[in-house]
């Protein structure tokens, strides 16, 4: 269980890092926190020729808000995001981060690393999709911004090319009238989810809209923008939130059918995952709705 030998480069600028990656001609891998990559190397599931360590690139080590987004650089650790007060601008991140592995893994693991790794059961890709975050990808041809919902193309596959670096993730800052919900079921705290949901609801006067992202239920995070029955159910229930969860259950059955398309595995069948998804989704949507109404000033806190 030891990694095969590899060449190791730790450049100090972004152009150098990209050049190093490009020079390996596909044989190189970025290492950020290593919390997903090192186990893969240790089990020799991957044998990259070169690891490009981006941790000395100063410009990637920043977190802050600008232009309506919370921007998180590629080497910012998950635990730092969890503890930094600026993260309050994106409440969904704060709800999801404690579910990412354990404290000991979040000390080193990065937000961008988790997105780049694109595990279908991971929390942060779901958060990125639910909020449709902007992912800044920098390669030999310069930087481009990829919407999160286009970034994930399958299990552990993303829009990143072999010499691209995900330099930052930009999460939209929550506005007035927005509320969020997040939950998952795992066999043990810190394990990957059997099924999980991230929910965002926005209330603007009589108008209600919602986004619901499921993870651990397909080969990538799957998002539906709640329209039709779901939006109607949300807005119709008015003040009676206690009834909301059960009202939502019906319309969510169809959503679960559509989104949960993973085959069963040793831990859970597809049907069980659909039930989990439906239950979690109705609860979290209700909570998100309640929070949204509070944020909009429609209910007294």
């Amino acid at each position: 269980m030891k990694a095969a030998p590899f060449a190791y480069v730790r450049p100090s600028t972004l152009p150098d890092a990209i050049a190093e990656l490009a020079s390996t001609d596909g044989g190189g891998k970025v290492i950020a926190g290593g919390q997903s990559l090192v186990p893969v190397l240790a089990m020799r599931l991957a044998r990259p020729e070169t690891l490009v360590d981006i941790n000395s690139v100063a410009e990637l080590d920043r977190i802050g808000t600008a232009g309506g987004y919370l921007e998180i650089g590629a080497t910012v650790r998950q635990r730092r995001v969890e503890r930094d007060p600026v993260s309050a601008a994106v409440p969904l991140l704060g709800m999801a981060l404690p579910w990412v592995g354990h404290r000991e893994l979040r000390s080193r693991g990065t937000v961008c690393g988790s997105l780049a790794h694109a595990d279908p059961a991971a929390e942060l890709p779901a958060v990125a999709c639910c909020l449709n975050a902007e992912l800044v990808v920098t390669g030999t041809g310069g930087a481009r911004r990829v919407p999160a919902r286009e970034f994930f193309s399958g299990a552990m596959t993303t829009a990143l090319g072999p010499s691209d670096i995900l330099t930052a993730a930009r999460f939209p800052i929550a506005g007035r009238g927005e509320g969020f919900g997040f939950a998952e079921i795992a066999r043990r705290h810190g394990d990957f989810a059997l099924a999980g949901v991230a929910a965002r609801v926005r209330v603007r006067g009589a108008e209600t809209d919602a986004e619901l992202t499921g993870f651990g239920v397909s080969d990538r995070p799957v998002t539906c923008s709640a329209g039709g029955e779901l939006a109607t159910a949300l807005s119709e229930c008015g003040g009676d939130v206690s009834r909301l969860a059960s009202t939502l259950s019906g319309p969510l059955t169809a959503v679960a059918e559509e989104l949960v398309d993973t085959d069963g595995d040793a831990h859970a069948s597809r049907d069980y995952r659909r039930r989990l998804f439906r239950t979690l989704a109705s609860r979290e949507l209700s909570k998100a709705y309640e929070r949204a109404r509070r944020s909009a000033g429609e209910v007294n806190p």
Partner: protein, 417 residues
Amino acid sequence: MTTAPETTDPLAQKGKPRPIKAGVDDLVEVRMTVNGTPAVLSLPARVTLADALRDHLGLTGTHVGCEHGVCGMCTVLVDGQAARACLLFAVQLDGADIVTVEGLGRPDDLHPLQEAFGRNHALQCGFCTPGFLMSSYDLLSTKPEVTEDELPEELSGVICRCTGYRNILTAVRETHEAHPDGIPAPGNCAHRALVGRATGQGGGSTDGREAGEDTAAEGTRRIDIVLPDGDPTIAVDIETEIGVPVDAVWRVFDDVHLLARCLPGAELTEDLGEDHYGGRARVSVGPIKLSFKGVAHVVAHDRAGQRLRVLAQGQDTGGAQTQADIVLRTEATATGTAMRAEAKVYLTGRIAQFGRALAGDVSRRMFEQFADALREAATSGQAPSGPVKAPSALKLLFAPLIDRIRTALRRGRRTAR
């Protein structure tokens, strides 16, 4: 190999990994602080921090279970936060500050968490214990507001196969209650002086080369030996009878070269002036072979007061560091000379893993060999036939056993003294 600029102070770069480019077969230089002591390692990029700590620095308190981040046995503090040592390549930690379970407390002055684990029987086989200690240290120091209800979840990153969870939770809760505003810092992180820092090589260089090889050309520089604060790893206080007159013993003491040749496994290679000497020593115990290169300083050579004091400092290729403060006293007796040796030995790294008792036994055994050689040299006025052999594996493995039995038999008398 490395493109990094040379600096003499391993801490100068603290917190900032230096840019580097290493080929597949290259060794990469890493400077980090481990339990308060600067260490310079030179290793292949694929060596994990867990392996570097255990195999290169001899700090085997960090346990390795799954090697892919699941079990938590290897948890250590990296720049103050708990992290999996098996999920980090050591080369990534250039400039980092590492604390292992060895740094948490001293055997005679345990950290409150360690005390609580002991008190509550929170360990059965003890395999998970270092991981739990470091993880719970991180928890209580970074999240002092944690509630009792949250403890099971917060500590779920480490798995105990003996299922001692109840007691572990109790131990952590008790420590938390006793220190509501945050727990005391690790208690065994001291800056230990290292050999060769004056020559620009940090201590604990583990480049895999034989000691002496790299410095043969440049020679050893005279350095001031600064003993660490705190208690020694081993304290030896032994007396032995040498059947030769005091004068004859001191004739050996007067001739440093002759004296050195009486030391088991030792070899004097250089006279550095002002009572400083460079030399080598080899010790082997079972599979462990240590080859020290170091410096000795004769601080007191007092024939009238019958006292010889030597400070020594050595470094092994595997990163083990030894420092010793040795005082030899002689006293004329009816049958010859009573020689008493008091040695305080400070060990870090691999060698410290002998366990105190065994290391003490080894030192005692070496002292006996030294006394035998001294007797021979004092009698003949010449060096013992050939340098005294390095204590051999077999002898040392059995001798300590015999020693222990003897000690046990003598114990009554000793404590009476």
